[in-house]
Symmetry: C2
Subunit: 640 residues, 2 copies
Amino acid sequence: MTTTGLTNDVSLDVVADLAAQLRVDSIRSSTSAGSGHPTSSMSAADLLAVLVSRHLRYDWEDPRSPLNDHLIFSKGHASPLLYAVFKAVGVVSEDELINGYRRFGQRLEGHPTPVLPWVDVATGSLGQGLPDGVGVALAGRYLERLPYRVWVLCGDSEMAEGSIWEALDKASYYKLSNLIAILDVNRLGQRGATDLGWDTAAYAERAMAFGARTIEIDGHDLSVIDHAFVEAASHVAGDKPTLIIAKTIKGKGFSEVENALDWHGKPFPPDMADRAIAELGGVRSLVIRGAHPQPAEPGPVLQHPSTLPQQPGDAPQPSKEPPIYKTGEKVATRKAYGDALVALGARDPKVVALDGEVSNSTYAYEFARAFPERYFEMFIAEQQMIAAATGLAVRGYKSFASTFAAFFTRAYDFIRMGAVSGVDLRLVGSHAGVEIGADGPSQMALEDLAMMRAVHGSTVLYPADGTSTAALVAAMAETPGISYMRTTRGSYPGLYAHGEAFPVGGSKTLRSGPTDQVTLIGAGVTLHECLRAADLLTADGIAARVIDCYSVKPIDVGALTAAVVDTAGRIVVAEDHHPEGGLGAAVADALLEAGQRDFRLTRLAVREMPGSGTGAELLAWAGVDAEHIADAARQLTKSP
Amino acid sequence: MTTTGLTNDVSLDVVADLAAQLRVDSIRSSTSAGSGHPTSSMSAADLLAVLVSRHLRYDWEDPRSPLNDHLIFSKGHASPLLYAVFKAVGVVSEDELINGYRRFGQRLEGHPTPVLPWVDVATGSLGQGLPDGVGVALAGRYLERLPYRVWVLCGDSEMAEGSIWEALDKASYYKLSNLIAILDVNRLGQRGATDLGWDTAAYAERAMAFGARTIEIDGHDLSVIDHAFVEAASHVAGDKPTLIIAKTIKGKGFSEVENALDWHGKPFPPDMADRAIAELGGVRSLVIRGAHPQPAEPGPVLQHPSTLPQQPGDAPQPSKEPPIYKTGEKVATRKAYGDALVALGARDPKVVALDGEVSNSTYAYEFARAFPERYFEMFIAEQQMIAAATGLAVRGYKSFASTFAAFFTRAYDFIRMGAVSGVDLRLVGSHAGVEIGADGPSQMALEDLAMMRAVHGSTVLYPADGTSTAALVAAMAETPGISYMRTTRGSYPGLYAHGEAFPVGGSKTLRSGPTDQVTLIGAGVTLHECLRAADLLTADGIAARVIDCYSVKPIDVGALTAAVVDTAGRIVVAEDHHPEGGLGAAVADALLEAGQRDFRLTRLAVREMPGSGTGAELLAWAGVDAEHIADAARQLTKSP
């Protein structure tokens, strides 16, 4: 193994050799695996060779160093190139590269994931790496205030994703000059030419209109590439993100496939691979590293553009104490979220918040006023909101992102990929269900619990009062993975005394007695309906247990099975959600999983398309209000 | 009631009066309802007054006329304005406007839905009306070839949604000069100023870069507005969409709230409403209609830009006969989708297809080659793909939209809103689950069944062989609402003879006998594992029933309950999906709903985060392969 250089003065001749090595290794790994994207790697090999050897500041022995630059492959399918880079800097062995790629139990997955310590975020769903990079760059510029740069390799096909434009919009709004995107315009997508082909000027026009600096280059001229990176880096002190638009050739370096259709996502058969490697000058074993980052202290605090002006009522020193709500006093759980987030922010400087231009509805604006430097307004760009939360989480911040619960559907792919990235994200959706009333179905989350439960490793919470909300917001800060809290528009009476514990995975039994004949299970708004139903049933002489299932996932199996045993297997679940995948499904799943058989479960849910109305009218119309719950309980108690 | 004009030569003086009426009525309806967005309506009132009285060609007595222009409120929260327009053209009464808005059981919902015959699509989740309009305009230009125009009112806040830029990108790519978007730049979002404020030049620069013609105007100067509409309409023969960028004032017409923060989404209290109405000159009852559309015949067929070049193998006359697959012969269900779609397209000229730049993987490209004029390439823009499918459905086309199953998560908000719109959409997701193998988790749909089941009124299908796939593709063409088919990457043996029926809501029992001790339930790839497990169990002397649950929603309750009765309540379900909300949940839900209690259900699903590997390795790793299914069945048969 030849170590040619460990500084950033690697000559362009050596870089050319490195570029050939990256191509050869991209071919070797994908041919060995029998799948992968060699041609999409070869188009960007020159860009990466110059970047890694002469511009990226990275301590490969210490990937967790806060001073390191970041390198994100938004075109995640170019993983052969990324892994070839990892071999070239000496952190992945020849054996792992060739025999580990895309193999079961190995870490060189088909698309990069943070199973590898040098990978920040999982990519492979296109149009996500750049938005994620915006989040990392926000942390670098405004929170860590460190001089690292965020380099993002984008593919030209993914420029069709709206999320790319959300990212450039926010990158320019937030003056993220530390973000340098490199667009590999190889003209060809999976099944043919891209929308804009090699019209690099069109990309430049769009990106400039969105506030980026652009540099158009020949992506195979090493000297030109080098100058572009110098220029991009020289503007890091400025106030615009940079997009380097590189015209490239797909499959560059192997004449049989250069610029050819039908070579997307296909490894070369061994004989072709041999010819390609020969054409590229054979296998090499260069190890070349660029410069380490220089030691640096955090720079001055910069006020960012979404900072809210101070208001007369703003406390200069927000209290670290969790908010206190009296039992019986009406409060909206969304308000409790805002209150609790402020207290959490006062206790933990790593807590940051984002919102999609509805912070006065979600109450995230309370945090924005208390900690303007840690609040990032994402306007109505939910995909970018989740991506920015992801990027901030990469840098160790505890991101809370809020919008109307319904609008998290807009970002489901980003949430799913957040789980693949292994980041901790705290999502809070307000205005859920038909309870919101007059605004109508477009604003009513009725799929959110199903969607969030299905995310790997997720936690789903749905508190019913201020005290439990505040406790669970604090719990979310310590919860790994994707955690989601559903809050409610309306104000409802406090149920719990301050200081009560609400463990994730727990529940609260609010009514119970030795003569309970039926159990009523609710969460959020339907818990209040269950309590009212219990009162109605008391008048009929029927004692009902009432359980607050504030933790929908994980769910309190013990309390549920006890209820089955104690109340003759009679269970009513009411939820302000479609019948599939929500609270009722969670209860059914848990009881069956626990081996319970002797129960009868009546599931009340929103089964028709709602319109407008008052919350009370719609809860009644959907059949999830107290009267319907009581009716269902009466039916159950009539049979043995 | 005064009918001032029934042609499009309404004078601008009268238009000014109409604009005042629209403002006054927006105030009256929202104040009466106690909620709504009067100020967001008032900013656009002048634009709508000019449009409706002098430019929109619409037969208000015949909203289904194919010649009518289309009017879409992408800023759906301006519903008071839209409903005021409906009063002004005489189709909604004064009483309905004032007493019906946002009330339970009424059709003037908080955000517009097609419950109203003059509304094409539900809006209210921002950034969707313009993409939907692209679909309508595609139909108008390339399929119906009629001279109608698609007018879309956009808000400035929603320009932050990436989907808007997906829409403009596709509108310019497809040369949709029949699409005229009107951007109401009132500067203020819900919680403060927008990203770009009144910088109309910035919007213009962005839209031009995305290929639109732009016209910047004062949105309160009736004469200027009128000229802009004339100019926009005069370019309908051209090849670019138009964006009219109107600088407006939020709350325009009522001095107390003009351009003021904190008046978003708030009705005026009655005393303020009285002052506003007085300032606006009082209540009016003008009825003003513009011109009817002129009779027209479809124009010449235009070749659109995504038309694939003819290939040597392309049949000039694709067969109308469904494809035939032999039992035992291996075929991928995604391939069967392509084959069946071609046959369907040959039988039904209303069938159209769209894909997100992966048509060679989903096999939609077979349709693209057979019917290039009915195939619309959406590149990697899944949100726009669903929106275009929605717009095409508005015009009566049977849209099939395909991509990798995982990437439908990108468009969940659009799918959800499609259900609110009441359109029929056929979605086909390929490459589902860990079965795809080497590409890794970013490409593995493991939440899609949960997500799609939770959509109101949806149908979810997951066939296991070519014959059933082909039959179900044909069934989807006749299925109302959102229907979703999950297809599989790999090829598996044909199970069914040609001609067998596969009703939606049905199932197939592939193995059964009088001594069945356990039932194995699978769908798609796991059905093949269930069959293999049954063979393994036979070797152990255990007879197993095997059910193909190809219809996940609705599910075949009869077959499931019969299995419970016949096989001593022993059920194993295996699915290539997360445990929440998928096939196992559907089976559990159905059995409980049917009152079954005496069953034991073992649910095998993907419970950890997968990596790369072969499909077989990953199915085994996840515990959903034949060996694990057989083990689970053995466990169940050990207990009574």
